[in-house]
Symmetry: C2
Subunit: 364 residues, 2 copies
């Protein structure tokens, strides 16, 4: 297994800049998700965040967006969090002249376009901004320094695809597939195990970095119990990408071996899996864990403009890793095919709108 | 006076990336300065920093490089500061198993190339890294959150050149010059006043951001008392640039008005001026303030390779603002002329090697 057979994590970052295929211009899906979560986050802060405890040891509230990409969604989400905390402050305190200061850390992989992120920071922001490069699968902050972690549509990303998928002598060899849709149990298990390891590291790091009483709010793609992954929206999105790549194999434009050695570094867990991982970690109280609608549902995606936008969204998110593995010469054709398949796909057969997990944890 | 007549502060950042004219490849002069300051910083930490006080309220030591640019100098400087603090920790404490954690904030203007900075962070660093975009002429951090400010060759940069230099009806109109060398007193005073305002804002902001007992170490170009600015190395560097631009005016390649409306946003203070500003602020004890050698002196700069390197250094630092004002078409010719003038310049007539101010302040 050569080094070139795996995708390097740094290529998992979204497209930077502000060009046609940039994340900045193609992140409205995540924007829907931010909107859908807005009220829920406000509620969680109002009901569960105790500012008297947090402010007993610090005059500053430190907030992190884990996997922030380049905006504008992260700025909207942060604004909502700060406004919610300020409302809670007013509800808990009488003296509003001594409001806390806010410091916001925008985190994403080192390859994220922080230059674009920084240059688009809201000019009238009421917080001190900082960028933190590095994987959330590891420590990012000093011990006991963070009061609020936020993460939107990032936690389904693995630090890498499971290595055994590349081993021709293993029952987990993922021949002819780029993910675990319609794959044997061994492949699904390899993904699930890799995911669990990553989340264990994530929770362990965040537990160390948070102050007692601090809050973590996350939402990310999830698999509704009892529904096969291929019949969910996320599953269908990836299956159509796989099918587009296999078409290119048939036409000799890429090799079979190239597809065999490419595996998406993503896993969509169920509520039960996540629940078990948080409980196993033991450092957090689970204040909320529920399946929600991401704000965009299957029926909407059948409209042509929404469909096109979703294709652009997938491109903004995955282009870098696809180019690294398959080369840039096939990328336009790949996404043209993908767009066509997407248009023809009967989205209405997708049974569930609740394909996102909304999680509120409180550090014990 | 049109908006186009002034240079926007965001263009004061060094050249990004890692190309021929990048700061990353042309910052050895600053590197000499970092080396020259290394021992002095170690001494200041050993003698004056009280870790028992700092660690009584925090388990983390927070360090900032103000005006860090893109490396590698900032990484060397930070490494030296952390190692010095660790030595002091061992000298002050018996229990070395509970060493503090370090969080380092790399600060520069929003237009600084943070992507290059982040991708070149030392992989084995023993600290948590963050980037903070924004001008040091203003607040950057929450109140009472920083233990150590460091700044190398940045504090001579103004937030903007004085506006009255552009006013044709003012005695401060800076016709035919780009700086205050050989200028009437009114021009020098306009610069000095602008500088004083900026340093007042800087000291006020840092005083708020620092914890009591925290340390600020800065070194930056300074003007030795009694020596005309034009006879210092920095003065000569700028005078040769002005002379190169005036040559282009004579040849009709740029207009007189373009030179009249361009003024370098830099001021080189004397020790006495800085002393007065710190005392006026009142929040700091002055632990050390002395003129030092920047590690490169006039005789060295007469060697051809050093001379070429200095020209590249000036280009890396000033190209963006020169292009914004004069256009990119003249930039190669400008620096070719500058290089030639620099080569012919009798550096040995420069009287002083001590053209840098080394300052150690302690927050009261």
């Amino acid at each position: 297994m050569g080094a070139s057979a795996t995708t390097t994590p740094e290529l998992y970052a979204m497209n930077g800049g502000d060009g046609r295929f940039s994340y900045a211009k193609n992140s409205f899906l995540q924007g829907h998700s931010v909107n859908a979560s807005k009220e829920k986050i406000g509620e969680a802060i109002a009901e569960k965040l105790d500012l008297k405890i947090l402010l007993s040891t610090s005059k500053t509230i430190r907030i992190v967006d884990v996997g922030c990409s380049v905006g504008p969604n992260t700025f909207l989400a942060i604004q909502n969090i700060i406004e919610s905390i300020e409302r809670k402050y007013q509800a808990q305190y009488l003296n509003i002249n001594q409001k806390p200061e806010f410091q916001v850390f925008f985190n994403d992989l080192t390859s994220n376009d922080f230059n674009t992120l920084f240059s688009s920071l809201p000019p009238n922001r009421q917080y001190f901004a900082a960028g933190v490069p590095g994987s959330f699968h590891g420590r990012l902050f000093p011990e006991g320094s963070i009061h609020f972690f936020y993460s939107s549509i990032a936690l389904h990303i693995l630090s890498k695809a499971p290595e055994e998928l590349l081993d021709k002598n293993s029952p987990s060899w993922n021949k002819g597939r780029i993910h675990y849709i319609n794959a044997p149990d061994e492949v699904v298990n390899a993904y699930a195990t890799q995911y669990a390891k990553g989340i264990e590291i994530f929770l362990d790091a965040r537990a160390k970095e948070m102050v007692s009483g601090g809050m973590t709010v996350m939402s990310f793609p999830a698999n509704p119990t009892g529904i096969p992954y291929s019949q969910t929206f996320t599953g269908a999105m990836f299956e159509l990408l796989e099918s587009s790549l296999l078409d290119l194999v048939k036409e000799g434009k890429i090799s079979e071996a190239q597809v065999d050695s490419f595996n998406l570094p993503m896993y969509v867990p169920s509520l039960e899996e996540m629940m078990e991982l948080v409980q196993k970690n033991g450092c957090f109280d689970i204040e909320k864990m529920e399946l929600t609608s991401p704000g965009v549902h299957a029926s909407m995606t059948n409209t042509s403009s929404m469909g096109k936008a979703i294709v652009m969204h997938v491109r903004a998110g995955m282009e870098r890793m696809l180019i690294q593995h398959f080369g840039s010469q096939i990328i336009d054709e790949l996404f043209n095919r993908y767009a066509k398949k997407f248009e023809e796909f009967p989205h209405h057969v997708l049974p569930s709108k609740k394909v996102q997990l909304f999680v509120v944890l409180k550090r014990k």
